[in-house]
């Protein structure tokens, strides 16, 4: 049975949400990017205990690129997480793989180099290295996801709902623009517009992230994931109203072949910008031969 993982919108202990999900992804301030919110370091133990109490699996995003002078803090948090009851750490920076070995940690790792997790060969490379989970790229097709599943023992996590991060930079491109042209704007989230599409963009202390214009809604495909033993589907709450997100989780939890069309329509009615991402759209890369 495919499990549902959700990212959290706030630190609020929301029991209603927990009814419809099996696992959460949490972030820690200073270590995690691309999440709707992060706990601070002092809050994580209590948060993890809460999810443990309700028998929810907990995955922690430590997915930023770390600089040399952040490595001591990284070692500290890895050691601390190693003693907590979590299911794994999602990493981007390879320093984490090296540190796990050097520090002798038992913690599970999830390969989460978001746009690079595109084939079973590399997934198996990491699997042989002890990395037993993969957060699959959102830029591959459904067929590719299923082919990967058939060729690896790694547990797979596939995002099927929500905005998709598509650009990360250590630059502060929004802040720079405002400073260059002396613009006053205190927005916590901005948008960029091109050809009638708008893209959420967030510039904070960790740099800049841009999200997709559309929300991926693959509730229909969630059943294919289930049939093919995909281990987890990920529902991302970024920029989604809390109540609507809970409703989405509920629909994904209860979907079956009898109600899937109706549920799909309900999600489309809630959001006017849904699509199927790249599940049926192959990207071109060789424009001329």
């Amino acid at each position: 049975m495919t499990k549902i993982i959700a990212t959290l919108k706030t630190k609020e202990k929301n029991l209603e949400l927990l009814k419809y999900i099996d696992a959460v992804i949490i972030g820690i301030d200073g270590y995690s990017i691309n999440l709707p919110f992060n706990y601070n370091v002092d809050e994580i133990e209590e948060a993890i205990s809460f999810f443990n109490l309700h028998n929810k699996e907990v995955f922690v995003f430590l997915n930023k690129n770390f600089r040399n002078d952040e490595l001591d803090d990284l070692k500290y948090i890895l050691n601390r997480l190693d003693n907590l009851n979590i299911n794994g750490i999602v990493y981007y920076d390879i320093a984490i793989v090296n540190l796990k070995e050097k520090l002798g940690l038992n913690i599970e790792l999830i390969w989460g180099q978001e746009h690079m997790t595109t084939n079973s060969y590399t997934i198996n490379y990491w699997y042989e290295y002890g990395v037993k989970y993969t957060l699959i790229s959102s830029e591959i097709t459904l067929d590719e996801v299923l082919e990967i599943k058939n060729n690896t023992n790694s547990k797979l996590i596939v995002q099927l709902f929500g905005y998709i991060p598509m650009f990360n930079s250590l630059r502060h491109v929004v802040k720079n623009y405002k400073r260059q042209f002396k613009l006053i704007d205190e927005s916590k989230i901005n948008y960029i517009e091109k050809e009638d599409k708008i893209y959420p963009i967030i510039d904070n202390k960790d740099g800049t992230v841009v999200y997709s214009s559309n929300i991926i809604n693959a509730i229909e495909e969630s059943m294919i994931m289930n049939e093919n033993n995909i281990d987890y589907i990920l529902l991302n709450s970024f920029n989604i109203e809390a109540e609507k997100f809970i409703e989405v989780c509920k629909l994904f939890k209860n979907v079956d072949k009898n109600n899937v069309s109706e549920y799909n329509i309900r999600i489309k009615e809630m959001f006017n910008n849904t699509d199927k991402g790249f599940l049926y759209k192959e990207t071109i890369y060789k424009v001329k031969e």
Binding site: N65, F66, R67, N68, E70, Y92, D93, I94, A95, N98, K102, Q113, H115, M116, T118, N119, Y121, T122, N124, Y125, E139, E144, E147, I148, N151, M166, F167, N168, S169, L170, R171, H172, V173, V174, N176, Y177, K178, R179, Q180, F181, L183, D185, K188, N190, Y191, I192, E193, K194, I198, I201, V210, S212, F278, K281, T283, I284, Y285, K286, V287, K288
Partner: protein, 403 residues
């Protein structure tokens, strides 16, 4: 801490085809990096067939120089099937290294070939723990993330005994390399498989959280200025960086000749006589003129503010300064045979530069066409003409407009 022996760094240049490969090596590159027809990150560059790679390697090795081949795409399952044969072919040809970002390719190469492996900047390696990991995987060189600062590079070199390569010149990704799929979403072209359509150079409207326009004098863009490390070459050599990389496999021969030539001279001048080394502003001017874009040192100095952004629109002005290439020089008649690349005429002030000469300034006087008739203007693309000039020129010297 290991002892750092300062070696002369390798000057590594891009080459989109055989002509550019030869120019880069003639102008002083110690090595070039090229893309094959598959598995590279510049799918729209001309790129090299295996036969052309062989020619390029033979030519480079005849000069005692090296060729690295980019195999730095992020694999999808269907491409992986051709990988082994391709790597074996590169090994047989004798390429000096492959540049890789996907660790599955590292494994295939290590298990089946003797290829040396460099880790691509697409892995955005920013710290010494990651460098140490890749070293254990058998990688012999790391191309560091473009965001590394001087202090970070120094610390990495001090802590891990491995060759470090950094960029010294050319265009920059606005994103962390590998962490951008704007191209996939906005143009359906896969940036991590060579299809990047440079969406980061587009203009956008910036909106507030209430979707109200926030308008500056220019539109919002991610676009950054280019990188130029000429002012820091001395420090970079002293730091013990193994290889200085120039970006731009799709750039012209004029660009490659200029940039490689300038850095070659700067490196040689400091390395050969560091007591007397002086920064040469003339070189900076040459770099500026050939790119037509502003350039700054960026993250090296830990600066990534608005002074690094580029708000002057996406299109660079096509470079009209490049006037021609010298094909040969007749010592007795003092005649240079030139292949035209941009319009020029009698009376124009020009500069010649090349690996064997300092810059020669000259006012064009007599121009002969292919039948030795005097002409006043050279307006046809690739037109062959002869110019009377007393100072000796060499094959492959470049002629540019004097500004």
């Amino acid at each position: 801490m290991k002892e750092i022996v300062i070696k002369k760094p390798e000057l590594l240049a891009p080459a989109g085809d055989l002509e550019r490969l030869k120019i880069a090596l003639l102008y002083g590159a110690d090595a070039v990096y090229i893309g094959g027809s598959v598995f590279g990150l510049r799918a729209n560059a001309a790129n090299f067939t295996l036969k052309e790679i062989k020619k390029g390697v033979t030519y480079a090795h005849s000069l005692g120089k090296k060729v690295y081949v980019t195999v730095n795409i992020v694999l999808h399952n269907k491409e992986a099937k051709e990988l082994l044969d391709y790597l074996k072919a590169l090994d047989k040809i004798g390429v000096d290294a492959i540049i890789v970002s996907d660790p599955a390719i590292i494994k295939v190469a290590k298990d089946n070939t003797n290829l040396e492996i460099h880790l691509s900047t697409q892995q955005s390696t920013l710290n010494y723990e990651a460098v140490e990991f890749w070293k254990k995987q058998g990688v012999s060189r790391i191309v560091l993330a473009r965001e590394t600062t001087k202090k970070e590079i120094e610390d990495i070199i001090n802590k891990v005994d491995i060759e470090i390569e950094t960029f010294i010149h050319g265009a920059m990704c606005s994103s962390i390399s590998g962490r951008c799929v704007l191209s996939n979403f906005l143009t359906a072209r896969d940036s991590n498989r060579g299809g990047c359509s440079q969406v980061c150079r587009w203009d956008f409207k910036l909106l507030s959280e209430n979707l109200k326009p926030i308008e500056g004098e220019k539109d919002f863009t991610f676009c950054t200025k280019d990188l130029s490390m000429l002012t820091h070459i001395k420090e970079m050599i002293d730091m013990g960086i193994s290889s200085f990389k120039i970006e731009g496999r799709m750039r012209s021969i004029y660009y490659i000749a200029t940039v490689v030539g300038v850095y070659r001279k700067a490196i040689d001048k400091y390395y050969n006589s560091n007591e007397n080394y002086e920064y040469n502003e003339k070189y900076e001017k040459m770099l500026r003129e050939c790119a037509n874009r502003d350039s700054v040192p960026q993250f090296f100095n830990n600066i990534n503010d608005e002074t690094c952004q580029y708000y002057n629109g996406r299109m660079e002005v096509s470079n009209q300064d490049f006037l021609g290439v010298v094909l040969e020089y007749d010592d007795e008649l003092k005649l240079a045979t030139i292949e035209q690349r941009n319009y020029f005429k009698k009376g124009d002030l020009v500069e010649f530069f090349g690996p064997n000469n300092d810059i020669i300034e000259y006012q064009i006087d007599k121009i002969l066409d292919i039948d030795n008739n005097l002409i006043d203007v050279v307006r046809h693309p690739r037109q062959i003409v002869k110019i009377k000039i007393d100072k000796k020129l060499y094959k492959n010297d470049m002629m540019k407009k004097l500004k």
